[in-house]
């Protein structure tokens, strides 16, 4: 592949950061992608407006997570702590981005976390969020911010779980939807980039659609001169999908309609432990690494 053939369409990558260790993992992944795609990395820290409001109530006290003691929630002190968090994140971003030699920006916003992330994501080509953020909930359920971005986000969204980076294998679900081809294209290029094996799960509600989708996949693979394991699943359900999909590796999902949309998509992301790349839109997407 020559320099001329490199066509970068992902120019801006937004990563929502808090001070959790999940964030740092997300930052590592975001930096890696920005480096490979020659994109700009934008770090976003949101000062939760709700938290600042709560500090104005005279009766609220915070319970220390480790000390389990009560402390009066002082607004000034809270703002100071939030600034400290932001600085900490900025330093981490600076270190990682400069080491990878990617252009970067850091923004601090104040408002509703989900709304701010969504708004910033509208100007980015890829938004990366953690599945749970700093929620105390240790369950697998998707946090509110990730949920809103999954529902209302545009472009590509990468939902990261735990503390992992992108690893092989790459699995893509191919349904007869407008976004499916983009999802397959993204999966093929990502599999190449991480030298991983590609698995394609073709799903459809009927036999005919299934066969057509399978043929499309075969055609695409032939044109790209790549190989992949292709599996078929008719009348798919969330539980059926989770049964088939492997526990490790990157999961690429087209999420414009059908099973992979809305609450069902949320349910699927709740259950799986993989990082999930949500691909929207039917316009051709080229990802060259």
């Amino acid at each position: 592949m020559t320099e001329a053939e490199r066509e970068v369409t992902i120019r801006r990558i937004l990563v929502a950061l808090d001070a959790s260790s999940h964030s740092l993992a997300a930052l590592e992944t975001a930096t890696w992608l920005a480096s490979r795609l020659k994109a700009e990395l934008i770090g976003l820290f949101v000062e939760d407006i709700d938290l600042l409001r709560v500090a104005e109530f005279p009766f609220t006290r915070q319970v220390g997570l480790f000390s389990s003691t009560f402390q009066r929630l002082d607004l000034l002190e809270l703002e100071r702590q939030l600034r400290a968090q932001a600085n900490q994140i900025r330093q981490a971003l600076t270190a990682i981005a400069e080491r990878a030699q990617v252009p970067w920006r850091f923004r601090v916003a104040r408002g509703s976390v989900a709304s701010e992330v969504l708004a910033a994501g509208a100007k980015a080509d890829l938004t990366i969020v953690g599945k749970r953020g700093r929620s105390l909930s240790l369950g697998k359920r998707v946090g509110s911010t990730a949920r809103m971005v999954m529902f209302e986000g545009q472009g590509l969204t990468l939902v990261l779980q735990q503390r992992e980076v992108l690893t092989a294998p790459v699995m893509v679900v191919y349904d007869p939807s407008p976004a499916a081809e983009n999802a397959l294209e993204a999966a093929l290029n990502l599999a190449n980039a991480i030298n991983g094996h590609l698995s394609v799960l073709v799903i459809a509600d009927d036999e005919h659609s299934l066969q057509k989708a399978q043929a499309d996949v075969a055609e695409r693979l032939k044109r790209k001169k790549q190989t992949a394991d292709v599996h078929l699943l008719m009348k798919p359900t969330v539980s059926g999908l989770t049964y088939v999909l492997k526990a490790k590796g990157l999961l690429v999902l087209p999420c414009s309609e059908g099973l992979l949309h809305g609450e069902k998509l949320c349910e699927l992301v709740n259950v799986v432990r993989n990082p999930v790349l949500l691909v929207r839109g039917e316009h051709p997407l080229k990802l060259w690494f």
Binding site: A19, D48, D50, L51, R53, V54, A55, E56, F57, F59, T60, R61, Q62, V63, G64, L65, F66, S68, T69, F70, Q71, L73, L78, Q81, L82, A84, Q85, R134, S135, L136, S137, L138, G139
Partner: protein
């Protein structure tokens, strides 16, 4: 006057080759006995056999007497039939790593044990890896983790639900959490909250307070849940580890069940593995802690600190040994004797552990024998004290000098001492032995057995045959040609000459071996298949030629007249004395002119050598003795009224010994009696106060020294040497001297008394006293007596004049 002189056959104790039944030494077998050292061998045997504390051996003898060889041979032969002693291994003390423990195993089993442990650790790692990667373990571990998560999750969910029921939501702060009132799932802004009815606000406050309390109670439980989880994980790990490695260790415990300390160690090791299983599984993560270049039982175990703790350091390994060890430590430094603890520099610090303990000679010889050169031990700082300490305490403690002497208090290792059971044999000169006995009280307690090595032995027909066997043995050992019986005979004769006694043989093995090697060389030069008498003689002659430059120079100066020596005519008060000069291993004789002058005096005999401090004490004693003789024989009725002075003419380097005291006396008698002494004769012999001539050393060299001068000037037939009669048995003269005596051109006179000697030297009768003690007037004694009377009268007269003059003055 005919004087008794020695016949040629008295001048040499020949060894007749005909007595030997062999043609060459190739036919002879090595003797089982150690020749010429019965006393030393008996002492060695006793010292080795007796199993009591303090009975170590000191083999004392001059260098070259074969102490090391004999002791080594003796001990090695003895050790062959003794049992192989135990192996000793240092292992980690898991409770106190600073104090490594010792394990004792059967001889040769130490290495096997070390390999067993290495194998065990490898198998344990593999078993543990498999066990911890096993699905069952992973599931159980996850289940335990999940249980904690569930607990926390449930608690949080419960809190969340309660909050939701009360229209409250939980928000995370940077350091904790707070509860915020909500409406339709959105946090109520403060200004809107203030617009709510008071009852509602109060309710919110109450609910927030209640939930805060509940959150606090939940967080307070979290540490104990986490502790519980950790304990469960620990228990799980221990269970899995115990199952994975337990059977491996059980197998090993069974193998070594007859060794309780080994079994104990394995039990403790198992407990340690269980407690440190994570470190054991992840040695690769400790690459940066790798101690580079660290030696040890195996490279694998040494690579990682986590694995090093289980290694076995076999400090004493007898797997190759058959019998007890016989160790000779050639460089007996303190550390080479008692062992040392090595350290490795790593990132600016010094690291060590039990794997770095190294054995010393005492460890290696434990259960057997240790041979040391005492001079080397004494010249190494603290080595002697270290050796004594180990023997006294009957254990070997590996510690640095700094620790032993309290010089440093840096924390290092304190390895468990090893019980010591060793026989030490020190080799050294007699002087050192006696100095140690005198000055070091501990020496006598620890080295009770002295094996005294002689330098000579009796020359009997049996011993001559044994000597032949010895020559054969050395020739075989040194891969020399065999010696024919003529060669053996010549070596035996030279051996007698070396000790200066025809009735003795030298057992100085080093010089014997040198002679044999050099004779073999000359045999090779001659193309002989066996070493002959001529080859031996050539070796002797060549050695003398290499050594006698100084003798030749002195002879030249005598011939040139630089050193004044008369070999003819006669002189009053002058005699040829004889001395020996020792240069290294070579000794030669040379004549010296001794002169005596007398004058009126008060009886003092002045030894000029002594006056200028060039005479040693023995020489001075000799002069005083002859003065005593003089006084006793000639001055019982009158005072000794002479003053005499004696000197070795042209002597500028000091004189010691009394072998010339008879010559000095002859010169004095000649000077007093004014009877000349024949300068064709030389004299040697010490004299006592009774006028008896006593034996001296180096009689052969002295005779040959004067003979060479006479021969160089041309033998007149008048020349010869007076020697003490008691030295006749020591004669082993050169062939040319013997030939000259046989031809009547040189004479050797054995003398027992001064009177005999003075007669030979002056040709005048010595004279015997009559009943009144008077000597014949024409005899030497008579003339001496007459002269002393004359001097006494002069002195008396002079004394009277002096007294009168003094009276006159006053």
């Amino acid at each position: 006057m005919g004087y008794k002189e020695l016949a040629p056959e008295n001048l040499y104790h020949k060894c007749d080759p005909v007595q030997f039944s062999f043609e060459t030494t190739a036919e002879l077998e090595d003797s089982a006995q150690f020749l010429g050292q019965p006393r030393a061998v008996e002492a060695l045997k006793f010292g080795i056999d007796i199993e009591r504390e303090g009975y170590n051996v000191f083999a004392l003898g001059y260098a070259g007497t074969g102490k090391h060889y004999l002791v080594s041979q003796f001990l090695e032969k003895r050790a062959e039939s003794e049992k192989v002693p135990d192996d000793y291994c240092y292992v980690n003390n898991f409770d106190e790593p600073r104090k490594p423990r010792i394990l004792c195993l059967l001889g040769g089993k130490g290495k096997e044990f070390s390999q067993d442990i290495e194998k065990l650790v490898e198998e344990a790692r593999n078993a543990l890896k498999a066990a911890f990667e096993n699905e069952e373990y992973q599931n159980r571990r996850q289940a335990i983790g999940q249980q904690l998560q569930d607990r926390q999750q449930n608690a949080f969910e419960e809190l969340n639900n309660k909050g939701r029921e009360r229209n409250l939501t939980i928000l995370r702060t940077p350091t904790g959490l707070v509860f915020a009132p909500t409406r339709e799932e959105n946090v109520i802004p403060p200004d809107e909250f203030n617009k709510l009815p008071e009852e509602e606000r109060k309710r919110f406050e109450h609910d927030v307070e209640e939930l805060q309390q509940e959150a606090q109670r939940m967080f307070q439980k979290t540490p104990s849940w986490e502790r519980e989880t950790r304990q469960k994980l620990l228990d799980l790990n221990q269970e899995v580890t115990s199952f994975a490695v337990g059977y491996l260790l059980a197998e090993l415990r069974k193998k070594y069940e007859d060794k309780p300390d080994v079994v104990d160690h394995l039990k403790v090791m198992e407990k340690d593995i269980i407690e440190n299983v994570q470190a054991l599984l992840a040695p690769e993560r400790e690459q940066e802690q790798k101690v580079a270049g660290a030696p040890g039982a195996s490279d694998q175990l040494m690579e990682s600190p986590a694995l090093r703790r289980y290694a076995v350091n076999v400090v004493v390994d007898h797997s190759e040994l058959k019998g007890a060890p016989v160790i000779y430590e050639d460089n007996p430094t303190y550390q080479n004797l008692v062992g040392r603890i090595e350290h490795l520099a790593h990132m600016g610090t010094l690291l060590t552990d039990f794997n770095m303990i190294r054995a010393g000679a005492l460890h290696r010889a434990n259960g057997g024998y240790l041979i040391l050169d005492v001079l080397k031990v004494l010249t190494q700082p603290f080595a002697w004290e270290g050796l004594k300490r180990a023997l006294r305490s009957r254990q070997v403690k590996v510690e640095t000098l700094g620790e032993a002497y309290g010089l440093i208090s840096t924390v290092s290792l304190e390895p468990q001492p090893i019980p010591l059971n060793v026989k030490v044999t020190l080799l050294g000169p007699p002087l050192v032995y006696y100095l140690l006995r005198y000055h070091d009280p501990e020496f006598a307690e620890l080295f009770k057995v002295a094996a005294d090595f002689d330098v000579e032995m009796h020359r009997t027909p049996e011993n001559e045959v044994s000597y032949g066997q010895l020559i054969g043995a050395i020739a075989r050992q040194e891969q020399l040609r065999p010696f024919d019986r003529g060669g053996v005979a010549r070596v035996i004769e030279h051996s007698a000459r070396t000790v200066g006694d025809g009735e003795r043989l030298s057992v100085h093995m080093q010089s014997l071996a040198d002679l044999l090697r050099e004779a073999d060389y000359w045999a090779g030069q001659s193309g002989n298949g066996a070493v002959t008498s001529a080859d031996v003689q050539r070796a002797i002659d060549a050695w003398i030629y290499r050594s006698d430059r100084m003798r030749e120079r002195i002879c030249e100066e005598i011939e040139r007249g630089t050193i004044l020596i008369d070999t003819g005519g006669e002189k009053v008060g002058q005699v040829n004395g004889l001395s020996v000069i020792q240069l290294g291993e070579y000794a030669f004789g040379r004549p010296s002119r001794i002169t005596a002058r007398i004058r009126l005096g008060k009886g003092e005999v002045v030894d000029i050598e002594r006056e200028v401090e060039m005479g040693g004490p023995i020489h001075s004693k000799g002069v005083l003795i002859l003065a005593g003789f003089l006084g006793a024989r000639y001055a019982t009725d009158q005072p000794l009224s002479l003053s005499a002075s004696l000197v070795f003419e042209q002597s500028y380097s000091g004189v010691e010994g009394d072998s010339a005291s008879s010559a000095e006396l002859y010169a004095l008698l000649s000077a007093t009696a004014e009877v000349p002494i024949r300068q064709s004769l030389a004299v040697t012999g010490s004299v006592n106060q009774h006028g008896q001539v006593q034996p001296i050393g180096g009689v052969n060299e002295k005779i040959e020294g004067f003979f060479d001068i006479c021969k160089a000037r041309g033998l007149t037939g008048e020349q010869g040497v007076l020697i003490p009669a008691s030295n006749v048995k020591h004669l082993m003269l050169r062939k040319d001297v013997i030939q000259a005596v046989e031809d009547g051109r040189f004479h050797i006179y054995p003398v027992e008394t001064i009177d005999e000697g003075i007669e030979i030297l002056t040709g005048v009768t010595a004279g015997k006293p009559d009943d009144e003690g008077k000597y014949p007037s024409e005899s030497v004694n008579g003339r001496v007596y007459a002269r002393l009377v004359e001097l006494a009268e002069k002195r008396q007269k002079f004394g009277a004049i002096t007294a009168a003059e003094k009276r006159g003055q006053s």
